[in-house]
Amino acid sequence: MTLVEIAEKLSLETFTANPDLSRPVLSGYASDLLSDVMANAGPGAVWLTLQTHQNVVAVASLKELSAVILTGGRRPEDATLKKADAEGVIILGSGDSAFDLAGRLFSLGLRSEG
């Protein structure tokens, strides 16, 4: 599965300026605790979170995640977006809650382990 398929099927908003949506998505992870994501998210995962601050970018970059999906209609802070663009981190968004979004990704075949 690629980001473009997910973005289309779930009607995700794209915050990143020129995202490479051909990136593969290998798994999914939902958590708002950064240490939990650092410890347990797989590489190539989409990460569902309500955190919008800059450290989301550091975690996504270090873990080589496929993309960050902000849930509940949240938008990234300006500084977050700037940092994401600089580090090649893709930030998407959805009006759905993390629960609903995870459910929809699960039915598309995505699991927490790639």
């Binding site: 605790l33 950064l34 650092m38 955190q51 800059q54 450290n55 970018v57 270090l62 580090e87």
Partner: protein
């Protein structure tokens, strides 16, 4: 590093990760070094009054020494317990302070040592041994 400097937190670890990638270090080593390094960096920002973050990379190990200006950890055994944290509500709301930092570092390191005390300076040292694929030599390390 400055206390409460969330803006730059994670940058040292990102730079380290990028350098290790350029040097073609094994992916598992890079993953473990990134996690441990990030947690140590975040600890400095969240808990300390500022401090110093040093790492040294050689072919057979990645070593970290993280020192701060205090305020010290009164009970290290408690701090090592998963889920225990003294982080503020504001910091927790940002997704930090889950009480996983030190345990995560220990889990990913081959050597781990922390010394501290109430009103003292905390010194955290950890090391990741590097095994290169195809290298069957047993590594010999001098213990601390």
């Amino acid at each position: 590093m400055g206390a409460g400097d969330f803006r730059h937190a994670g940058e040292i670890s990102t730079e380290l990760r990028n350098n290790l990638k350029k040097l073609n270090f094994p992916p598992d080593i890079i993953r473990r070094a990134s996690i441990a390094s990030y947690e140590a960096e975040i600890n400095l920002v969240i808990h300390s009054k500022g401090g110093w973050f040093q790492y040294r990379v050689t072919m057979d190990r990645i070593e970290f020494v993280v020192r701060d200006r205090g305020p010290g950890i009164p009970d290290i055994n408690l701090a090592m317990q998963e889920g225990y944290s003294t982080a503020s509500v504001e910091v927790r709301d940002m997704g930090f302070g889950a009480g996983m930092g030190l345990p995560n570092i220990k889990k990913n390191a081959d050597r781990f040592r922390i010394t501290s005390g109430k009103d003292g300076q905390t010194v955290l040292e950890f090391r990741i041994n590097v095994r290169w694929p195809g290298d069957r030599r047993m590594p010999v390390y001098i213990d601390w």
